[in-house]
């Protein structure tokens, strides 16, 4: 095999390189200063500049449908948009980390280093078209994440979360790799582009290939917390420091789904009716389990964790649609649009949780929000917007996300999946309304922990603004995404 690395490869990979270099800066400064933490404000500014530059380079060089490093990385519309989404979502997470009591301690530089490397893993994950490279991206993203969860100083529960996530995550990775080995053994290739056209027939004719693909899909199902592989999510989401939870629930989930989409877009579902049926049932079960379980939660983070499981179910509907659709640009962009909507509203909700937390051991229950509307009318309004948007009420972003997603499903004849989706939206209203009820209709003294936390507050307002503004004018963004995927 003749491997050449030219200037185009470097240019295409420049976002990755720049991001990695920027991730080293805070760490290097800390080492040079004799292991003394520098001003966290400087660290966060460096990190955000790094992310900004990466996003800029992606906009310039990405989206051109060119491949780099001998067909290892593909920079198409999907890569570009999902990587940008990952950057936006992780920037939000970083801002929370800067101000949250459980993450702003002595090891802030290390945390930022890990976070940026996790983002690096995410971009590799979405850009990879070689299953081995997919695995590298997945592991780089996850390994950094395990450490980030465990790094919170005091919380025992976060250590538990990290171990749980690590063990189960490794297990899922192993299953994924096992699947990849079967795919390679049966088709002779691990490159997604190679069986782009043939996957549908391969799953029909070659049982071993089907076996491999199923295992690859299972690995992803675990990552995006599809029931019944979701059991880790509530514990891990609850145990992790809130900013890391937000990072995990938005950026990690978005890119995992984007990579999942790439696999599904090879259309194995068209070839295997059984697999298609199983995936549909998984979607239904995931929505229902997530929503019903969320109703019973008191802990706000746990509620959001189950809500995130439920949203995985909705997105899986879109994914299945994209997997059987002839015009997959439309369904794929509805998935991406929903991921965007989901990330923004979830991030906003976690940002408010982060603002309320007084110490690293804070546990925020829904009932602790009582009186929040009196003390913080603007933030309470924002949380209301996030909750209504998560519930899919118009005219928010969440509504249009669901509208596009279910329109795509109905277009492909998956009416019953859309039906389950909308029924589940109704179930979900119950628990999304609870924080609103408590905030506005019960007396209490809930307030933000520290009135000087400006960056996170700004983040909340920006999220709320995006939800309303892009919610009302979602057309141009959707067109843009669809065009670049087409």
């Amino acid at each position: 095999m003749n491997i050449t690395v030219g200037l185009t490869d470097v240019l295409l990979a420049s976002p990755l390189i720049v991001l990695f270099l920027f991730s080293l800066i805070p760490l290097a400064i800390k080492v040079l200063r004799g292991n003394k933490e520098q001003n966290p404000a400087a660290t966060i500014v460096i990190a955000l500049i790094g992310l900004g530059l990466t996003a800029g380079l992606l906009l310039v060089f990405g989206g051109s449908d060119r491949t780099a490093f001998n067909n290892q990385l593909l920079f198409d519309g999907l890569t570009q948009w999902s990587a940008l989404l990952a950057i936006v979502a992780s920037a939000g997470g970083l801002i929370m980390m800067y101000e949250n009591p459980s993450t702003r301690g002595k090891q802030f530089s290390e945390l930022i280093f890990l976070a940026l490397n996790s983002v690096l893993g995410m971009i590799i994950l979405v850009a990879a078209v070689n299953l081995i490279t997919v695995f590298i991206g997945l592991e780089l993203m996850s390994l950094a994440l395990y450490l980030m969860i465990a790094m919170s100083h005091e919380q025992k529960i976060s250590k538990e979360a990290a171990i749980k996530y690590f063990v189960l995550g490794s297990f899922a990775s192993a299953i994924f790799l096992y699947g990849v080995s079967f795919v390679f053994g049966s088709s002779g290739s691990v490159n997604i582009t190679d069986f782009m056209q043939s996957a549908a027939t391969l799953v029909k004719t070659n049982k071993l290939f089907l076996f491999g693909i199923v295992f690859v899909i299972l690995g992803f199902c675990f990552k995006v917390s599809i029931a019944p592989f979701h059991a880790w999510a509530p514990d891990v989401y609850q145990g992790s420091p809130t900013p890391v939870t937000s990072f995990m629930a938005t950026a990690v989930k978005a890119v995992s789904f984007a990579a999942f989409l790439r696999i599904i877009a090879t259309q194995p579902l068209v070839g295997s009716q059984n697999l298609f049926d199983v995936m549909q049932w998984l979607a239904v079960i995931t929505m229902t389990v997530g929503n019903v379980a969320a109703i019973m939660q008191n802990n706000l983070k746990r509620t959001l964790a189950y809500s995130s499981v439920a949203h995985s179910g909705y997105i899986l509907v879109g994914l299945i649609t994209a997997g059987i659709s002839q015009n997959s640009a439309y369904s794929a962009s509805s998935v991406l649009f929903y991921l965007f909507a989901y990330s923004i509203m979830t991030m906003g909700a976690f940002a408010i949780v982060s603002l309320i937390e007084r110490s690293e051991n804070s546990v925020i229950n829904t009932d602790d929000l009582a009186g929040f509307a009196k003390n913080q009318p603007a933030l309470a309004m924002c949380l209301t917007i996030f909750m209504l948007s998560l519930a899919g009420l118009p005219p928010t972003l969440g509504f249009f996300g669901k509208f596009y997603l279910f329109s795509a499903a109905v277009n492909e004849g998956l009416v019953w999946l859309a039906l389950w989706g909308v029924i589940n939206s109704v179930i979900s209203v119950y628990y999304y309304l609870r924080p609103i009820v408590v905030m506005y209709m019960k007396d209490g003294d809930a307030d933000v922990a520290d009135h000087s936390l400006h960056a996170t507050t700004v983040l909340v307002f920006v999220c709320a603004f995006i939800i309303i503004a892009i919610g009302l004018f979602s057309g141009p963004l959707f067109d843009l995404v669809e065009k670049s995927l087409g």
């Binding site: 118009p394 249009f400 509208f403 329109s407 109905v410 009416v415 859309a418 506005y440 209709m441 959707f478």
Partner: protein, 508 residues
């Protein structure tokens, strides 16, 4: 342009109120703004051409072109009356809640104005997605109004209201998506969410087979609206919401919000699914009749005045459904008239109950008795509104119920026969309630008030006179000169009835 102004002025008012710095002048400001809105809607009324059944003052701008969704609004005779009802009731509601809303006054008025825009939007929208946005948006402010300013069980009531209504409307959303998928047949390739394009669709209908496109779509829409109306047996959220809602909340709910459901049968269900609507009309007629009798019987035994009026709403809305689904000119004209009547008379009843509640802090009928001697003017007003509610000739209620019953007789004498008992039952429970509250031996409340001079009962204040006078005038005006009102809607209703199988609206 004019229609958009009328539609969005309340939203602008909500923003103005949010940033208004003075706490003490919120009420005055809100009242003034709502009067401006009423004047603006009078301009619409003046520019409206009664002689035409077309969609007037229409405005259409692309919104999400990829899915053929547009900002498309317009007004015809059917929606005109409901818009006028909305803008007319809002100042009255604000003035009526002057003393009853004391906590978070600003928030209340903001919610009320947002609600006004949402309700008017669902009357005016001619685009399915735009309509759905307004339809669902109207839940949120109402949810806050009941939940924050309501009574003891307000949280239970408001969540029940929200989930019930939303459960109905998500199926409608799915149906809208499905209809949009069908539109390329009639637009020549492009997806469209415009109601006018929906009207052109010929959706296959197989009589007797439930699982066919038109029947399923019909029920998806009809269910959403039936919950809102509310049609028996989906009415259980309404008594809870009414009892727990603050007075102004009850007035909006009974006065305008319930009409969103019945109006949408005329705007959406019948023109879109005429075959299914005709085929299953008996079902809705039956439910309407059951609702009339059931609501009246349950109202009769209520110990709480407000709950009694709430159940009387179920009964009255049963008449409206009846009038709509007999689908003849008497029926539909009567139904539309009855929507207005119900908005005015039930709204007035809730306002009166609110006034008496402010004075006595009780709504239990057993505690009253002999109120007429303490509050003579109030009693007169209450009796007038009661007459309107039980459809005594010369009041507005008579015209509506009479037309509906005439229409029903043409459709089925049996249904008319049963629903006439509702008129008698209605008279029975209302008059019995009036007797127990205002006449007869003096009850606990009146005796207390007579002994305790500091808490004596005061008759209507000037503000309350101002609140009630327009309503009383309208009750008689609509009862004596129904044509002054019906002339606006008659053309549109006739157009709907005679062309329901190939309904379309000309755009002007």
């Amino acid at each position: 342009m004019l229609l958009s102004v009328v539609l969005f002025l309340p939203l602008v008012f909500a923003v103005i109120l949010t940033v208004w710095p003075q706490k003490t002048t919120i009420r005055q400001l809100a009242l003034g703004l709502s009067l401006i809105e009423f004047l603006a809607s009078l301009v619409v009324l003046k520019n409206f051409d009664q002689a035409s059944a077309a969609l007037q003052m229409a405005e259409q701008y692309a919104w999400v072109p990829r899915f053929g969704i547009s900002y498309f609004i317009g007004i015809d005779g059917i929606s005109l009356m409901l818009i006028m009802l909305t803008t007319f009731l809002t100042p009255i509601i604000i003035l009526g809640s002057w003393n009853s809303i004391t906590d978070r006054v600003k928030g209340f008025h903001v919610a009320l104005f947002v609600l006004q825009t949402a309700m008017m939007g669902s009357f005016l929208a001619m685009d399915a997605v735009l309509f759905y946005v307004f339809w669902e948006l109207s839940l949120v402010p109402m949810y806050f109004i009941v939940g924050i300013w309501g009574g003891a069980r307000r949280i239970y009531a408001t969540i029940k209201f929200f989930i019930y209504t939303m459960a109905g409307s998500v199926l409608m959303l799915l149906a809208i998506i499905f209809l949009m998928r069908l539109t390329p047949e009639v637009t020549g390739g492009a997806v469209s969410a415009s109601l006018l394009d929906f009207y052109k669709l010929q959706i296959p209908f197989v009589a007797g087979d439930f699982f066919t496109a038109q029947t399923l779509l019909f029920f998806a829409f009809a269910l959403a609206f039936a919950i809102k109306v509310p049609l028996f047996p989906l009415h259980t959220w309404l008594p809870d919401a009414h009892v727990e809602a603050p007075t102004p909340g009850s007035v909006v709910l009974a006065g305008v919000m319930l009409k969103m459901g019945t109006f949408c049968y005329l705007r959406w269900v019948i023109p879109l699914f005429p075959e299914a609507a005709e085929y299953y009309a008996w079902f809705f007629v039956a439910l309407g009749v059951i609702g009339i009798v059931y609501g009246a019987l349950v109202a009769m035994v209520q110990p709480d005045v407000k709950k009694l009026v709430a159940y009387s709403s179920v009964s009255h809305m049963g008449y409206v459904i009846l009038g709509i689904f007999v689908m003849n000119q008497y029926g539909v004209n009567g139904a539309l008239y009855q929507m207005l009547n119900h908005g005015i008379s039930t709204g007035a009843l809730f306002l009166l109950i609110g006034m008496i509640y402010e004075r006595t802090h009780s709504r239990m009928i057993v505690k009253y008795g002999g109120l007429a001697s303490a509050l003579p003017i109030f009693t007169i007003m209450f009796v007038i509104v009661t007459m309107s509610s039980i459809a005594v000739p010369l009041t507005n209620g008579f015209i509506g119920e009479f037309l509906i019953l005439m229409g029903t007789y043409q459709y089925s004498p049996l249904a008319a026969g049963i629903s006439v008992t509702g008129v008698i039952l209605g008279a029975a429970y209302m008059l019995w309630m009036v007797k127990r509250v205002f006449f007869g031996p003096k009850g606990e409340i009146v005796t207390h008030a007579e002994e305790d001079k500091e808490h004596a009962l005061h008759d209507l204040s000037v503000r309350e006179w101002v609140v009630m006078t327009p309503l009383i005038i309208l009750i008689f005006w609509m009862g004596i000169f129904p044509n002054h009102f019906m002339d606006y809607s008659k053309k549109s209703v006739d157009h709907l009835i005679s062309n329901k199988h190939n309904y379309t609206l000309e755009v002007k």
